[in-house]
Subunit: 346 residues, 2 copies
């Protein structure tokens, strides 16, 4: 998260503004907190240009809970849910849907260990919805644009790891969701942007907490929301607005990833793992091709202050996660460290 956000959260820990009561101590039904929640929603709508026929919900349970709430609400009998399988999170999402109805793998990049975004999809004839994961953290791939969908089938996106990193046309989506912890704030809040006709369409004989309408009708306050998380998310929305909005983020993220990819493209030691046309601006994955050398790099980079560069075990190698709040200088420093490492190890 941006330092400015952390600092502001820190200041309000014992007194939210002039209230004399810390942000976590306010009742979620009291005026000061309701104002916080309303401002967060208003800034979210402004930021992403969310049309009026969409609800903005702040839920709990992470993307993992959306994995089953979505089929529970929208996978009607006689229909099939289409999943674009581009990594571990898509696989988890379809696994939950399979428990609840008929599913179809519309495309998959598992044949090459998810190093690319497939071009073509084979949708089912009676598609309930199309689900995709816009950015694949583990494999460092990202959809450049939304996939085309069959007419009438809502597009549903798990955008947990690239949400609000670039402009979005919300009207293309039926539902877009993301856990907060990558680009939006602390873990424990899930942002759900959902078209109102889908809210109305869901069944009403499932548990109240699992119906989107429960949360929509109660402004996400049917039960006590994660107040501190929602507050902090609101601060992040403000920070994004103050830093050029989604266009600003897109520019910043592109400028940030460029020196790293440019270096990787000419390096004799390091190789990027994702296909060029499928590269993520959030997670840059690379390997040397030699596990021992990878381990040496991870260890030496950690000692030099670059934490968290070890890649996920299913890809190996290294991964640089450079979400919105990550500064460009951090990437410049990393590239310089990598060049130095390359010259010493080739």
């Amino acid at each position: 998260m941006p330092v400015e956000v952390l600092e502001e959260a820190r200041e309000n820990m014992l007194s939210l503004g002039e209230t004399g009561i810390g942000v976590m101590e306010h009742s979620h039904r009291g005026k000061p907190f309701v104002a916080v929640a309303e401002e967060a929603e208003a800034n979210c709508r402004k930021l992403a240009g969310i049309p009026d026929d969409y609800d903005v919900l702040f839920l709990q349970g992470g993307a993992s809970s959306q994995f089953f709430m979505i089929p529970q609400n929208f996978l009607e009998q006689g229909k099939t849910a289409d999943y674009l399988v581009t990594g571990s999170w898509s696989k988890k999402a379809i696994k939950e849907a399979k428990l609840l109805g008929s599913t179809n793998i519309a495309c998959s990049s598992e044949d090459r260990n998810f190093c690319y975004i497939p071009k073509d999809c084979n949708y089912s004839d009676n598609s309930a919805y199309v689900h995709f994961t816009s950015n694949n953290t583990i494999f460092g791939t990202e959809f450049a644009s939304e996939p085309e969908v069959p007419e009438g089938s809502p597009l549903i996106c798990d955008a947990s790891s690239d949400i609000f990193s670039r402009p979005l046309d919300i009207s293309k989506y039926g539902l877009l969701y993301g856990g907060a912890q990558k680009n939006l704030g602390p873990s424990g809040v899930t942002l759900v942007i959902i078209r109102k006709d889908l809210v109305a369409k869901g069944p009403s004989d499932i548990p109240a907490m699992l119906q989107y309408r429960t949360h929509a009708e109660n402004d996400s306050m049917y039960n006590t929301p994660p107040t501190f998380g929602l507050y902090t998310m609101g601060l992040v929305f403000k920070w994004i607005l103050d830093n050029g909005g989604l266009e600003g983020m897109a520019r910043h993220n592109a400028e940030k990833a460029k020196p790293l990819y440019d270096y990787l493209d000419q390096s004799q030691l390091f190789k990027p793992t994702a296909d060029k046309d499928s590269r993520s601006l959030m997670n840059v994955c690379f390997v040397t091709g030699d596990d021992t050398l990878d381990a040496k790099f991870v260890s030496e980079s950690k000692a030099a202050g670059f934490d968290g560069l070890k890649g996920h075990r299913s890809v190996g190698g290294m991964r640089a996660s450079i979400y919105n709040a990550f500064p460009k200088q951090g990437v410049v420093d990393l590239v310089s460290f990598m060049k130095d490492f390359e010259s010493k190890n080739s």
Copy 2:
């Protein structure tokens, strides 16, 4: 929450200990945060004397999510879930269970607007479990001790509003749960203490997030936990340990509620709404019997700095919520204000 806890959380906002990385910025899988989570669990176990055959889970979704997770996991076909209906939260809990199987109202105090805790229960012949709400925030009633249950039927308790306010014999429970926001920390974390045989007994063909085993097998890190909430809850556990443990809390809470109940018992203006043997030490509800006078009291007390005294609309009047962290002096001041109000308005 205790001021000491808020202050410590504030200090660690930009750097958890000496790590140089704020508590919310640490990966939940990194050593520093895993240590935080392990310490929180260890202190929770120490505090409540939790036996080894119980799992301690930190979940999301509040008590409202437990309302449906419990029947989904433990309400087998051919069995009936017994609910003790002592207020709004019990009613919400049984409503969710009804969607998922057979239920029985083992007792209810709705006949007198939930102003008492019933003495006797009529359990079903084939009881799946017995569910009760140990403290009823809205009505100001609290179970003095655990209800007796039919042999073999696990006792399940929603202790959201009095958890860790007094010593507990965990071995009497199959499952005890509570949203954090009353006595344990910020909203957005639910503490679940569950006997391991129940974890093993739940179905494995329901969504992963809804199986207790998923969370038990992954130390509550199957998905990203609400890290800041868990951290803060850990600070509250430490604070309770430092302040006499659950015995200390019980003593403190009894001493705190006494002057208020003592005053109410002799007041000519204010009447406590709960039966004497059913009184809550967490929420003290009282009325004047005159709505206009109630409103006057709420307004004048607010102006005098006593916030949040308005009772819930289903009881009317006033409610003083005096959870663990609420200081005794606050109650003494309130009683003094009430005496003054009484002398001016009688």
